[in-house]
């Protein structure tokens, strides 16, 4: 039964020894089915000389179970013509087959079995409840179905979803009238959405317009301190959320000190990005995820490519599930003349300049380590009197703060935003 604080108090605050016991129970129950049903898992484990009979504890699993990566799955798919990359462990049990957005190129299929509530969105009800969504509230509906029916989350909380036809992916264009009329308590933003709201701020008192909101979610790319500060400046509490290794989502709580992974649904590890050993808590590691409740296309020791710092330290919100902060992707870094930087570093530079404060940009490069690269920068035409002056400001800021000198292409932000997919602007472009 839900409490005032927690949607599922028993599970959300399960003491860690019991949480670990629950994880072990689910993992050991699932592994035989997954090994028998998913051809890629069986092949991978056979190659490693491991079977489920060799795993009798979480420790055994961490010691012996092989890792899998997105490239492994794609390779299996390409070689065998298996659309699920060999991960379909329960053929015929799919209710939905959805996919990743493909914003970085390839699409990965995943399937779930469910009857009334899609499991991905079911656990998000925990976070919505925490943010303050309650029966009778209105939630501003999101507009990208790539992960399925987000409205299941608010429905579970007893709330009503407001669908505004002009609202796009992570942006709230045209939603002003609906917001003023129906007073939603939650909405979803991406980087593109914040850029759109930034433009609205020229015409509206944003604090007044958004005064009904108890919080907003932000996902799709790393949340820079500048973007968070901008949104908070409008009176909104921002809850960053992310994928947990393509298994389930993970959300910030009110403490805003990392995203809670729902460890009753996923077993997470932080592993040396260049090796296979776990890193100490708080150290930089690659997020590895194993599904505990999905028997249709389960991930097993999936190396996500996300660089994280993880902790199981007690959280001020009362939940006992581990938290992690995503620093970036293993492929996010660009190295120019020996100096490494990430898109977040560039974002911080652009947010300081009024004409580019929406941080609409792309890094165009030939590879990870280059001698030169191009920075494609979107400027707000209605705020810009001299494109050349803005260009010079960008160059100075990037040289000063990041220590690199890019070639710069300036174009109106709406033009650059139009090239985005899935509510995200691809930050790294290979040319």
């Amino acid at each position: 039964m839900s409490s005032d604080e927690f949607f599922e108090p028993e599970l959300e605050t399960l003491p860690r020894p019991q949480l670990r016991a629950l994880q072990e129970e689910r993992l050991l129950a699932n592994l035989p089915h997954i090994y028998e049903g998913a051809p890629f898992v069986r092949e991978l484990w056979d190659k490693a000389g491991v079977t489920p009979r060799d795993i009798s504890s979480l420790d055994d699993f961490r010691e012996r179970a092989p890792f899998m990566s997105k490239d492994d799955i794609r390779r299996f798919r390409a070689e065998r013509g298996d659309p699920f990359g060999g991960l379909l462990a329960s053929p015929g049990r799919q209710t939905t087959v959805l996919s990743t957005s493909g914003s970085t190129g390839e699409v990965t299929l995943y399937a779930h079995e469910w009857r009334e509530v899609h499991p991905y969105w079911a656990t998000i009800a925990r976070s919505f409840w925490h943010i303050g969504v309650r029966p009778g509230d209105v939630v501003l509906g999101t507009a990208h179905c790539v992960r399925g029916p987000m409205y299941h989350a608010e429905r579970l909380c007893g709330a009503t979803t407001l669908h505004v036809p002009t609202v796009g992916v992570g942006n709230w264009v045209g939603a002003e009238e609906a917001i003023q009329r129906f007073r939603p308590v939650y909405g979803q933003l991406t980087g593109i959405g914040v850029a759109e709201l930034d433009r609205l701020s020229d015409r509206y008192d944003m604090t007044e317009l958004l005064s009904s909101f108890k919080g907003v979610g932000f996902a799709g790319e790393p949340l820079s301190p500048g973007v968070r500060a901008k949104v908070e400046g409008w009176g909104l509490e921002v809850f960053n959320w992310t994928q947990c290794g393509d298994v389930i989502s993970a959300w910030e709580c009110r403490m805003h000190d990392g995203c809670h992974a729902w460890e009753d649904h996923v077993l997470i590890e932080a592993i040396d990005p260049d090796g296979s050993e776990p890193v100490a808590e708080g150290e930089l590691g690659e997020l590895v995820a194993t599904s505990l409740t999905d028997l249709v296309t389960p991930m097993v020791r999936f190396r996500s490519g996300d660089l994280v710092r993880m902790t199981t330290d007690p959280c001020g919100c009362g939940r006992t599930h581990a938290r992690f902060s995503t620093v970036g992707r293993t492929t996010d870094q660009t190295v120019v003349g020996g100096r490494a930087f990430t898109p977040l570093d560039i974002s911080a530079c652009l947010e300081d300049i009024r004409e580019t404060s929406g941080a609409v940009f792309q890094i165009v490069r030939a590879g990870r380590e280059v001698e030169r690269f191009t920075l494609r920068v979107g400027y707000a035409p209605d705020r810009t009197d001299s494109v050349e002056r803005v260009r010079d400001s960008v160059l100075d800021r990037v040289r000063e703060k990041v220590g690199v000198v890019p070639d710069i292409e300036m174009l109106p932000d709406v033009e650059l935003l139009a090239s985005g997919r899935g509510g995200k602007l691809q930050r790294l472009v290979t040319r």
Partner: protein
């Protein structure tokens, strides 16, 4: 705990937690176009139940239940698509979803090529155009396509024979295999055509939101009488296709 836990995990514990308090009577607030802007309306749990019951046989006639379904189901149109997808689930077809954005057109091809699709629901003109030459492959691969009016001519030019599938104000019209017009649920709605040839919608059954003589932006003729498919509600024979929900 048994190894086969799939049954245990249908509808996770979070769903059970939600049953501790009443489900919202108003599931959604959505909008249809009117001459003076957007007309917002409430959509209720009973509305959804009634819509699912009507859609199940309508979709079954098109082969839903016999294979994979691909629905171009924008979340902004949840009130129209949620009952459709619920009916699809109840009929036993696995389904995938894509969006009405040109950037998402390619994912339709991914599902069609990798999974095989028996029925495609809700193809829009925007996505049909974005598919370009690949639309011919879609038409050749997918046995049944239910398309928005603005997509029908494009699909026909690519060699297809789509059925009409379109929101009409707060209602939904679905053409049956008899190809005698797109049905609306006669238990809930009645339709008439005004002097300009535009369809006007009136609520005649149980509904949270009632309309009377509502302008819908759809140009059509109305047919009445029992259809060969067994449905007896009014049917809309659309005039040259137009976009019913401009974005």
């Amino acid at each position: 705990m048994s190894a086969d836990r799939t049954t245990d995990m249908i509808d996770p514990p979070s769903a059970a937690a939600a049953r501790a308090f009443p489900a919202p009577e108003v599931l959604a607030i959505s909008a249809y176009p009117t001459p003076s802007g957007l007309g917002y309306f409430e959509y209720g749990a009973q509305d959804r139940t009634d819509d699912v019951a009507w859609l199940r046989p309508a979709l079954r006639r098109h082969g839903v239940g016999d294979g994979n379904v691909l629905a171009l189901a924008p979340l902004q149109e949840t009130v129209w698509f949620d009952p459709v997808l619920t009916a699809v689930r109840e009929l036993g077809s696995p389904y995938s979803m894509t969006d009405n954005y040109t950037f998402d057109a390619f994912r339709n091809l991914v599902y069609i090529r990798q999974l095989g699709v028996r029925v495609m629901l809700g193809l829009t003109g925007q996505v049909a155009e974005a598919l370009g030459e690949d639309l011919a492959e879609v038409v050749a691969s997918v046995p049944t396509i239910l398309a928005r009016p603005d997509a029908c001519e494009i699909v026909e030019q690519a060699g297809g024979r789509p059925f009409v599938f379109t929101p009409v104000g707060p209602a939904l019209a679905v053409e049956c295999p008899e190809r005698a017009g797109a049905h609306v649920n006669g238990e809930i709605w009645d339709v008439a055509v005004d002097v300009d040839g535009e369809v006007r919608l009136t609520t005649v059954g149980r509904r949270l939101h009632h309309v009377s003589d509502l302008w819908t932006g759809v140009a059509a003729q109305v047919r009445r009488g029992e259809c060969g498919c067994g449905e007896s509600g009014p049917r809309l024979v659309l005039e040259p296709p137009r976009l019913t929900h401009p974005r």
